[in-house]
């Protein structure tokens, strides 16, 4: 009996220690990634980074064109994705709870949430790059929008469902048409939650690289033409990090620090201010 008791206790301690170590490992990796970004990235961080264009190999420069490109692409992606996502989420939450289309949409949406982003890149290449015969910022923005949409659909639906039915009934009882009830009551009540979803989608697409590789490509120069290839941070990081030139690697690390800091900052901001309940993107 004693030995059985001892064995059970030992086994328990062993596994619990392993669990704590596993958690420590997870946190250690996060810390290590952040530390690496800070220690490598800080060296490359300079004012020049924000004022100069991406340099040719072997000379110093900045990533101004890539930063502006990333901002434009992400903003466009959200501008396209948010209305579509919110309205689709509205249909799921407000109009059709159990309808066939709603069930199918919900199912497919969850699959799209975890679908490989590189396939979205291939898809957009086929529909937006091949017909026009050139890479363009529009194609990249569409690819990013397609990645943002499932995130926004999911959170919008969840948030709208949390709106108490009493509110809807009150609005309807006052004679409001259904669309007015949704826009003026449901949307208002779920505003913070829907915004959270959009911000999380923004954080998700800001660092996406794979779908941009063959949609916007990259551009060494400043470009504000949405119908032409545009510089963007993720692809610049990819090219520069794997290059043999120290100047380029330096810039890659600094850009990586910049982009990760913005994404994690956005995530933490969402959690602290709006995210009262658990959300997964």
């Amino acid at each position: 009996m004693i030995s059985l008791y001892r064995r059970r206790r030992f086994f328990n301690y062993f596994n619990m220690t392993a669990s704590v170590l596993a958690t420590a490992l997870g946190i250690f990796v996060l810390a290590s990634i952040l530390w690496t970004l800070i220690s490598y990235g800080f060296r490359g961080l300079s004012l020049r980074m924000l004022t100069d264009m991406t340099p040719p190999p072997g000379s110093a420069g900045g990533v101004l064109n890539a930063i502006s490109g990333s901002v434009v692409l992400t903003a466009l992606g959200i501008a396209i994705g948010a209305p579509i996502g919110v309205l689709a989420g509205t249909y799921l939450a407000e109009y059709s709870e159990r309808g066939k289309i709603a069930e199918a949409t919900r199912f497919i949406n969850d699959i799209l949430l975890s679908a490989p982003s590189i396939l979205i890149g291939l898809f957009v290449y086929e529909i937006a790059v091949l017909p026009t015969h050139h890479f363009s910022a529009w194609a990249g923005a569409i690819a990013l929008a397609l990645i943002a949409i499932p995130v926004i659909v999911r959170t919008s639906e969840d948030m709208l469902r949390l709106v108490p039915n009493d509110l809807r009934e009150a609005a309807t009882a006052l004679g409001a048409p259904r669309w007015k009830m949704i826009v003026q009551v449901s949307y208002r009540a779920a505003r913070a939650g829907i915004l959270t979803g959009i911000l999380l989608a923004l954080a998700r697409i800001a660092g996406e690289t794979a779908p941009l590789l063959f949609t916007v490509l990259n551009n060494q120069f400043w470009s504000s033409n949405l119908d032409a290839p545009m510089a963007n941070l993720p692809v610049v990081i990819f090219q520069f990090a794997l290059s043999p030139y120290t100047d380029w690697q330096q810039l890659a690390w600094a850009s990586a620090l910049l982009i990760t800091a913005s994404i994690l900052g956005l995530n933490i901001f969402v959690r602290l201010t709006l995210g009262k309940r658990e959300k997964r993107s």
Binding site: A22, I118, R178, W179
Partner: protein
């Protein structure tokens, strides 16, 4: 107005009545049409992806036939392409990711649900969730510049001199320590899928009725025994679903793998050897592919990846459906 149709007092997440014909104004029709068409649009995205991949890979299948799936050669010069090597790399790296990532996720979930004091749960949970927010390309850089040197200097020699000496299994852990390779990619993937598995598993664990758990504790079960004999059997299907969800992520992961797998189109028994995955091959070669057959073969690889991940994700969803019924 649609008073009669509006659902009366129901549970919080209850059903909301459908709009009725006749009670709708013009604004209603327009708004309903808008939301309906965008919901249908989400369906069309997936159909569109499938269709475009099939059309795009058509030239490759016409040229290479079904031999595409059985050939291991990948030669742009002679235009002979086969999917075996990238598919093998994809499956092996994802399998490693699961073997390493699932136990770690379970450990984290045990800490988050059973061990950690309540005030510590939120910060730990947030830290783990932030792992999911870090872009894939950052994992790639960290993997190549931080993890690979460490792995090459410590893990690889250690594995080579212990497991590498065991017969049969040894073949998996032999060869020169390149640093990059299938095992490296698998380990990085394990870290990347861990927050996703842990998050779903945590939700799943919370569906276990407290009564079950408390009864087991009252009978004198240890924490481990409660997890292993009560919680896991109760949540079995959903836990497998969570793991499949992680698998779906690992299969399609691109940038991080591209950095650390070595990108060599070969099949080797040793996990130390460089290899490639479907997504890494596409990312590396797509913009440089010349000729219809070459780029079409890459799209055919994409179609293969689509089919594999689709099956895995559908299975995951079906297994998690039980959970959806419980929490929603």
């Amino acid at each position: 107005m649609a008073v009669a149709e509006t659902a009366s007092a129901r549970p919080r997440l209850g059903r909301i009545a459908k709009p009725t014909v006749g009670s709708t104004t013009l604004g209603d029709k327009v708004f309903f049409g808008l939301t309906y068409s965008f919901a249908a649009f989400v369906l069309l995205i997936l159909a569109g992806i499938l269709l475009s991949l099939v059309i795009g890979s058509w030239p490759a299948f016409k040229e290479l036939g079904l031999g595409f799936f059985t050939s291991a050669s990948w030669n742009p010069v002679t235009e002979k392409f086969g999917a075996v090597a990238p598919v093998y790399g994809t499956l092996v790296t994802s399998l490693i990711a699961l073997l390493v990532g699932v136990p770690i996720s379970l450990g984290i979930v045990i800490v988050l649900t059973e061990l950690a004091p309540v005030w510590l749960r939120r910060p730990i949970g947030t830290a783990i969730e932030l792992l999911a927010a870090i872009p894939s390309i950052i994992y790639g850089m960290w993997g190549l510049f931080v993890f690979v040197p460490f792995y090459k200097a410590y893990i690889q020699p250690a594995l080579g001199s212990t497991l590498g000496k065991v017969p049969i299994v040894g073949a998996l852990f032999s060869g020169p320590p390149f640093g990059v390779g299938m095992l490296t990619a698998g380990l990085i993937l394990a870290i990347m899928i861990l927050p996703f598995i842990a998050a779903v598993m945590r939700d799943v664990f919370e569906t276990v009725p407290p009564l079950l758990r408390e009864s087991a504790y009252a009978l004198g079960a240890t924490t481990w025994e409660v997890v292993w004999h009560v919680i896991l059997p109760y949540t079995r299907t959903s836990v497998v679903g969570a793991v499949m969800l992680g698998l779906g992520r690992a299969l399609g992961e691109t940038m991080a793998v591209t950095f650390v797998i070595g990108n060599s189109n070969e099949i080797s028994a040793s996990l130390f050897m460089p290899a490639t995955t479907i997504s890494a091959t596409i990312a590396n070669e797509f913009t440089e592919a010349v000729g219809d057959v070459y780029s079409s073969s890459l799209i055919a690889l994409g179609l293969t990846l689509f089919l594999i991940t689709f099956v895995v994700l559908v299975l995951a969803k079906l297994m998690l459906r039980q959970l959806a019924g419980k929490v929603r």
